[in-house]
Symmetry: C2
Subunit: 609 residues, 2 copies
């Protein structure tokens, strides 16, 4: 289009100069709320300190600002293409993969011996967050390599590690997770890709995989799929699934690469995050696709679940990062755009829209989502770090807490990210619906997160039906103790007292509801027990984020009366917003969860017309 | 892309065969709930009956199925283009405009003398709904001509009517609403397009308009803008705005067309409903743009508001129509897709996903939005019909009710339509995020409705600050009496009693909250009064839709035990869903509205970083 004379600000439109996350907030969470420096007491982390952490984050921000953000819109408008049987991606991806590899961004959490930097997950995940806020599509590529290589590292043989890890870490090769099939998405136990053992030790793989993120592209030399398949004769269902390394090109003993009968069948065109290709992969059309078993036969799902738990936390970070980018894009607009007059004033000049209470409400909503989510995600990352360096009961405790919070850490940012990016659009009015501004981009992009790595419904069932039920609520009780500790601390601070009481009351009601629902489960009324698990997860999520806001409020109120008072005051306002506008949502949710209705079970197919 | 071997059903993918609305439900609302036949007691409508109404709706459905639906995706993928200073649209639009004109779809509500069919708005709006559900972008063109011609008909001189109406009605010309300017979107009082009187009687127009829907395109011979401008020397603000007819080509006395110095400056690229162009229009660059004053000088906004009220109801219908299309697209998928096993069952075969309670919940949510919205919109249309045929106090009563409900009828379907189409995506899982299926299209499209024709925030302030406040709640009391009548009827039906009580209690709380807020207004605390007007509107909306569901439930429960029991039972299930899952949302909203927090007023610009 031609340049319109409509509202336009160089700052608002120029993406590379636009803020996409708050460094101050990230430091606040890492250093003040979660006190990452305390990790240095453990030998594994002892070489790190505040300075080294901040250097890593600054380097990540530089790469993001200089290389990722400038191609954000290009990657969306000129989406990857399927040409002559291969997928072409943005030409910068080749350099970017190299940069991700060279900078150690793919494997920084690994031990020094393994070529890593022994970086805490709190920092590694913070870099995911920064990359994602700059350009989510571009950030997906290295993250997938990290996930795939982690599986090889954890379950592979020394020979497998030697063949694949180096090139995955240095960005020359791309790793993927090849799980989904046309008839097996959420239901992984139903996959049908087959693996036939051979005398040479490898397996012959045959089948189709869909929705494979970065499943093929020309930014790397080779693609390494971590693929689920069923060994011929294996038990049906999820107990007969094994995990294989299936490279597109297979390295022979001399390190030369030959074609491994992995065909790219096509590319899926998506609504958002178009810059990362999602491929359809066909293996074994010529009966010459070799797969290398990793871990034990028929234990593939167990291996995969380790990676999936990490991926779920990562999805939470991704969702929060997109919401962050949208928040700052809309904030900048609200500071530059004049429209109407603030209620009760009558000036000739229009007011900046950031003076309107409803606009401030929309900004507070977004910020409460972004920073509430990020706080929970950091809490989870801290647990993940502590799992690495502790042992015995202490380790089990962190593992259990991490497992319990994972469905929330994945789903709350994902679901709320859709609403938050929608609110960013609303802040811009008509301009928000146009491609001239970024919020519509983030709105389309955010919508994937409630779907991939397990839909929200699946996480609801995981939380209520598995994580809480499996130990008769023992882990839940540990979590309640954690939350109660925060509530007690906050109750001692006059300005937080009311919020603390509020959260405490809500937590009690949540526990009552949990017990009532669990009773149904124990009585074998499984459908009634789980039919509203999605709503249960939503309720649980609001309470957990309330806990995180109280934690942040505690620190911010201690920090007041020093420097940066505008930041801490803003924190406290956002906390207040959360307790006045978001926490009350549990009232309606709990009412529904306590209702005796069985309408969603009773209604049948024929009633829907 | 190549054809993937992934899940695919001809029915699901073939849009022209896909159901996009429920004829049965439309008939249920028109004939059973709102008894449209009773309009025939008024001479203006006496020639119509059930048969003629249904014929009109069937003809509309045929046109929609045959001509509109087949180009739905094409219009999205090959969006209008700006070529050599003009906008090119889908080549079928020329024939379609002709078809809209020939079929009388643009002016059917007009009197026979004016060339119309004296069609009730209930039917005219039902045709909007059907067209919109088939292809919202295509439906926008004729609707804009209807709005523009209505203004000329209401306020124009006989000569103006003679010059413009015929070609707007027959689809040869396109009408538009040219209100928005770069610095005056929501704040119409700030427009700066100027109009200079001339001795010849016309005005010279100069200025820029943006976001003009169908503001230029090659599907018609001429474009007729109904444009707001400020006559030189007019008072500042909204009291100095006048309304003009500004054609792109002006007809001379002999009926020949000459260029009127109306330039197309560009096209805005949008996230959704891409098939309808949104133009940037520049007038008077060569000082030769003639505008013809319509209505009184400086009374332009009053004229425009008449049209805008109609347009707001229409936006409600549009939003509901998109949600309807998404509902049926996702319903069909849920009936065809197998995945996982229903909780508590263990079969070798996967279950259809429509057997999962959470999927049924997602379908019920969508249906409760679509049919609840449509019911309210029909209620409003009925009021609009009664305004036409009644007089005196009766007429004033219907006018007042229509005015009070308009912000709800615009905003509830718009806001909920975004969530409802999002839920349609979720029903499809990963496929929902791809362009192979329709829900993502509807999700992008739905997002415009909370923005155009007044953002949701503006409607919140309109409801609380104007519509309720202007007569000290007199109209609100009339509405409450209407709702109470429905509640009393329902209370007498055993199966509805609990819902009736629920709605009554909620209504009482809403009234209390209204009084508390209004008190703030009367005390001059305007910002506190209006700061949560958006939430007030949301709460009000849920109560109103609850009223509509109780109305529908009353009729459905009477109809049970006859034919079509699956339909009526489905209605009752959806009503139950609404009362158990949606009405409770008022609890949290009312809690926030009653809170004494002033955080959205107190927080200032500097706190947001």
């Amino acid at each position: 289009m031609i340049i319109l004379s409509s509202y336009k600000s160089t700052k608002t439109l120029n993406q590379s100069f636009m803020k996409f996350y708050s460094k101050k907030n990230l430091h606040f969470l890492l250093h003040d709320v979660f006190q990452i420096e305390t990790l240095s007491q453990y030998p594994f982390f002892e070489e790190h300190n505040e300075e080294t952490y901040n250097m890593v984050l600054d380097a990540c921000t530089d790469l993001s600002t200089q290389k990722l953000r400038p191609i954000l819109t290009e990657m969306d408008r000129n989406a990857p293409d399927f040409v002559d049987g291969r997928i072409k991606v943005h030409p910068d991806m080749k350099d970017l993969m190299q940069a991700f590899g060279d900078g150690g961004w793919i494997n920084s959490p690994l031990s020094y011996e393994e070529g890593g930097q022994q970086m805490p997950y709190m920092i590694f995940n913070a870099t995911l967050f920064i990359f994602g806020a700059a350009n989510y599509s571009a950030s997906v590529y290295p993250f997938l390599s990290a996930g795939a290589s982690n599986l090889i590292r954890s379950f592979g043989t020394e020979a497998q590690k030697a063949s694949f890890l180096e090139n995955l870490y240095n960005g020359k090769w791309q790793g993927t997770m090849a799980l989904t099939e046309p008839d097996a998405g959420s239901s992984l136990g139903d996959i049908s890709t087959s693996a036939e053992p051979t005398e040479e030790g490898y397996y012959k793989i045959k089948g189709q995989k869909i929705f494979i993120s970065c499943g093929d592209h020309d930014g790397v030399e080779n693609i390494v799929h971590l693929m689920l398949a069923r060994i011929k004769g294996a038990p049906k269902g999820s107990k007969g699934i094994s995990l294989f390394i299936v490279p597109r090109l297979r390295p022979d003993a001399a390190g030369n690469l030959e074609y491994n009968d992995v065909t790219t069948g096509g590319i899926f065109h998506k609504m958002g995050y178009k810059g990362a290709p999602i491929a359809h992969i066909i293996t074994g059309e010529k009966d010459d696709c070799r797969g290398y078993l990793i871990g034990e036969a028929n234990k593939g799902l167990l291996c995969m679940f380790q990676m999936m738990n990490e991926a779920r936390i990562a999805v939470g970070f991704n969702a929060a990062s997109i919401a962050s980018a949208a928040y700052y894009a809309s904030l900048q607009y609200c500071r530059e755009r004049s429209q109407g007059r603030r209620v009760g004033t009558k000036s000739a000049e229009q007011s900046l829209i950031i003076e309107h209470a409803d606009v401030k409400r929309m900004l507070l909503f977004q910020r409460s989502v972004v920073e509430g989510s990020l706080s929970l995600l950091m809490e989870c990352s801290r647990y993940a770090d502590l799992v690495r360096v502790t042992t015995g009961e202490e380790q089990e405790r962190y593992e259990a807490l991490l497992g319990l919070l994972t469905p929330v850490a994945k789903s709350y940012p994902s679901e709320m990210g859709c609403l938050s990016t929608s609110t960013a659009i609303q802040c811009l009015g008509g301009y928000g619906f146009t491609e001239e501004f970024l919020p519509e981009h983030f709105y389309r992009e955010a919508r994937i997160h409630p779907i991939h790595e397990g839909t929200t419904a699946i996480h609801g069932m995981d939380l209520l039906g598995r994580k809480i039920a499996k130990d008769q609520g023992a882990t839940l009780r540990i979590l309640i103790a954690e939350i109660t500790e925060t509530i007690q601390k906050a109750a001692a601070v006059a300005s937080l007292q009311a919020h603390a009481t509020n959260l405490g009351t809500t937590l009690e009601k949540l526990v009552d509801t949990t017990m009532n629902l669990s009773m149904l489960g124990m009585q074998g009324k499984l459908e009634a027990f789980l039919s509203d698990a999605t709503l249960y997860l939503e309720t649980f999520g609001v309470v957990i984020i309330g806990w995180q806001w109280l934690k942040q409020g505690l620190v911010a109120s201690q920090k007041l009366d020093g420097t940066d008072d505008e930041f801490y005051q803003g924190k406290l306002y956002t906390m207040e917003y959360f307790f006045e506008y978001e926490l009350p949502k549990t009232r309606s949710l709990l009412k529904t969860l306590q209702s005796k209705t069985s309408v969603t079970v009773d209604i049948q197919d024929g009633h829907f017309d």
